[in-house]
């Protein structure tokens, strides 16, 4: 019964309301953590799967996380209907160097962070306003000239979006974002 209701995958520890129908037409955004062998071509396999089957990638980060075990962690933010999301997970799971696929969006609460560098070119009052807002968002100034700042900001993607939006009228010049890194909350 639990399998039919999808309790294991669909609920969080805190609420049964996270139960979601498996065949809804509504698109959802999911964060997937994929543990892979750190070998040549593995990223190409993952990206090729998304492009070859027409899935979306909103953000993708990858780096080695276990040097001795030669394991890398790929964090992918993707959108699709629940059926597409399940298909993406199953397709990822059958790539030979993929060890584990975790859907952090349905496996319980998780933390998501992204780092961005944001260049703002401005003078006068706008400079003061940019610094003030940076302070509110806990962004750090990592480069400064008389006519520009580069801010470093970390946070959930929507926080970075919000900060970039505020900087736009003040002289936003360039944005570099790392993409999302995510971990589940709790001990395991």
């Amino acid at each position: 019964m639990s399998a039919a209701l999808n309790i294991k995958k669909g609920s969080s520890k805190h609420s049964a309301y996270a139960l979601r129908p498996n065949f809804s037409d509504v698109e959802e955004t999911h964060t997937l953590a994929v543990l892979v062998d750190n070998e040549a071509g593995v990223l190409a396999r993952v990206i090729g799967l998304f492009s070859g089957r027409g899935y979306n990638i909103e953000s993708l980060t990858v780096a080695e996380v276990d040097h001795e075990g030669h394991l890398s962690r790929i964090t992918i933010v993707t959108t699709g209907t629940p059926q597409v999301i399940n298909q993406i997970k199953a397709q990822l799971g059958r790539i030979v160097p993929v060890h584990e696929v975790h859907d952090l969006t349905v496996e319980g609460p998780s933390v998501q962070r992204e780092l961005a560098l944001i260049k703002v070119a401005c003078n006068g009052d706008k400079r003061v306003e940019a610094l003030r807002l940076a302070d509110i968002f806990r962004a750090k100034v990592v480069d400064s000239t008389l006519s520009s700042f580069v801010f470093e900001i970390t946070g959930a993607p929507d926080k970075i979006d919000a900060f970039a939006d505020l900087m736009r009228p003040l002289g936003l010049a360039e944005v570099a974002r790392t993409g999302v890194a995510a971990l589940s909350r709790g001990a395991s």
Partner: protein
């Protein structure tokens, strides 16, 4: 088992340790060291093909008729790119292959060297997995891992790209037992709760049907045996995809024939009206489902598949079971027997009555009249005259392929080799050679259309060289028959480029190859001509001139559901609507 040897020697040693008897290949600069090692041994037989695509299809034929992985050896660059179609074909039909390709030496990779191609890059999407081996010490391990990956779980092709300097260098050889296999162990046992749920559904079903596919055959002969037991003891009807023919015998009492776009009326109607569909090792391919939203609307659906990504990919199922068909069938039988072998006999009898009504439509009937051979008649006679033989059938792709599936009966698994998923014209000739190499004493017939047959006809040289007495049974309509049929149904009878204005004289061509050529154009001569083909000890090219404008029926027009089949030309005009027209 650890020993020092060159990479080239390792390749041959690893193949021997994997029990490989035959390699299909074509030499070239980047694999010369391996060919030198092949020259110096007698355990592994090398079959020299005439084109690398032929090597891969021959290996597919070998693999499908034996259940063992097929092995291919090709050179770098064009050798590898010519193998791509075969790899894709094997991927879509889940055929285990190990393809070894030469590569330019490691220090020249990326320099656009002579005969260099990014082989692992090109073949990444058309293999189950691939490797570029840059270190001789890793070579033997990767080859053994390659065999493990190709044959475990859902089978498929793998490719191992070996630079020439890695073949020359010495390194440590490791045997199969030392290879890394633990990281890839697909689940074979099905979930017991789900199996119980399925048995419960079996017991209650009023209008059940088994819908089986290539997964039963891939699982091995035991799975076919278990399937036969389950079908015969429950008394349920069974239909199969093109890929699954032979898992259940065509003479069996539950057999409804093939389903799908050109499947039998009774099979498709039963799929549409059933209340319990048990999909065993098939994948709800679009040739099977027709219009998705009208696919078997009233049924509860169970799906047994070893590949989790097949489940709920196209059709939403109620009882998903991930596991190997053989293991799952064994558990289903065990549970069903222990619960008292119950079925709803009364409802089942009614269901069979309904099916008999559909059967009475006799959707495969045709009239052989006049002096022109109907392709259906040619296959009916071929079936009649070869039925009792130790027979293997391969096909090309097109109308003849569908007629072969409709009119030939398969009693055992691994006897029917056809390109299902990719629909590769040019598959049949090399596949028939591969099958014959594996079964030298058996009757191997490639049912072909003349257009497909020409695509890889160079492999007749291979057949002659290795005395493979393959019979090429060509239904020659001087047309790309299936293309022509679609143009008739869909494009206002504008037959754009579907007519071969120039064709070879197949009898002379046969003689040029060193085969026997037989021409037959009169229905009265057909039996004698077929017997002449069967009695000839050697390869035969049989040019059977057939009705040029025959259409393949029954047919589910694209975009239509199962219960809207076309049974013949009378109701075929404007059968495909605009939404169906965009589908292939």
């Amino acid at each position: 088992m650890t020993r020092q040897m060159t990479g080239a020697k390792m390749v041959v040693q690893a193949l021997k340790d994997q029990g490989v008897e035959v390699v299909f290949g074509y030499p070239g600069g980047a694999v010369l060291p391996i060919y030198d090692e092949i020259f110096q041994q007698n355990d592994i037989k090398h079959i020299l093909v005439r084109h690398e695509q032929g090597a891969v299809h021959a290996a597919e034929g070998y693999a499908r008729s034996t259940g063992k992985p097929g092995v291919v050896l090709v050179t770098s660059g064009p050798g590898a790119t010519n193998a791509v179609t075969g790899l894709t074909d094997a991927l879509l039909d889940s055929i285990p292959l190990v393809v070894l390709s030469g590569q330019v030496p490691t220090f020249m990779i990326g320099s656009d060297a002579f005969q260099e191609a990014d082989t692992v890059g090109i073949t990444r999407p058309c293999t189950k997995h691939n490797w570029l081996v840059k270190d001789t010490d890793r070579l033997s391990g990767v080859i053994h891992e390659g065999f493990h990956v190709a044959t475990s779980g859902r089978p498929g092709p793998v490719l191992i790209d070996i630079p020439k300097d890695v073949q020359f260098a010495s390194g440590t050889y490791n045997g199969p037992k030392q290879a890394r296999t633990s990281h890839y162990q697909p689940q074979v046992k099905g979930d017991l709760d789900m199996i119980n749920e399925l048995v419960d559904a079996l017991e209650k079903a009023k209008r059940p049907i088994f819908y089986t596919g290539g997964g039963v055959i891939n699982s091995g002969p035991a799975a076919s045996q278990l399937l036969r037991e389950l079908v015969d003891t429950t008394g349920f009807p069974i239909t199969s995809t093109l890929m699954g023919l032979g898992a259940y015998p065509a003479s069996g009492k539950g057999w409804l024939g093939m389903l799908g776009m050109h499947g039998l009326y009774e099979a498709n109607m039963a799929m549409h009206d059933c209340d319990l569909m048990i999909n065993i090792g098939a994948r709800f391919d679009d040739r099977i489902t027709g219009r998705i939203d009208a696919f078997s609307p009233k049924s509860k659906k169970a799906h047994i598949d070893i590949d989790p990504s097949s489940i709920n990919k196209v059709i939403r199922v109620d009882i998903p079971i991930v596991g190997d068909v053989g293991h799952v069938l064994e558990d289903i039988l065990k549970v069903w027997k222990s619960r008292g072998r119950k079925t709803n006999q009364e409802a089942l009898a009614k269901w069979w009555n309904k099916i008999e009504e559909w059967k009475a439509v006799r959707c495969l009937s045709f009239k052989q009249e006049g002096s022109v051979i109907k392709p259906q008649y040619a296959l009916q006679r071929l079936e009649e005259l070869t039925k009792g033989h130790d027979r293997y059938i391969t096909t090309e792709v097109g109308q003849h392929q569908m007629w072969a599936a409709q009119y030939l009966g398969f009693e055992d698994p691994n006897r029917w080799m056809t390109s299902g998923g990719l629909g590769t014209m040019g598959y049949g000739v090399p596949a028939s050679v591969g099958v014959q190499i594996a079964h030298p004493e058996s009757l191997v017939i490639n049912v072909a259309g003349e257009a497909s047959w020409l695509m890889n006809m160079q492999e007749m040289c291979t057949a002659v060289q290795y005395r493979a007495p393959v019979k090429q049974f060509i239904l020659n309509n001087e047309r790309l028959g299936m293309v022509r049929q679609w143009q008739q149904l869909l494009h206002g009878e504008r037959y754009s480029q579907s007519w071969s204005e120039a064709l070879p004289d197949f009898v002379k061509l046969a003689e040029a190859f060193g085969c026997k050529g037989i021409l037959c154009s009169d229905p009265k001569d057909l039996d004698d001509a077929i017997m002449e083909m069967l009695n000839y000890d050697g390869p035969v090219i049989f040019d059977c001139l057939v009705e040029k404008h025959e259409n393949c029926f029954p047919m589910i027009p694209s975009g239509a559901p199962h219960n809207e089949m076309l049974l013949g030309d009378v109701n075929a005009t404007n059968a495909i609507g605009s939404t169906g027209a965009v589908l292939v």
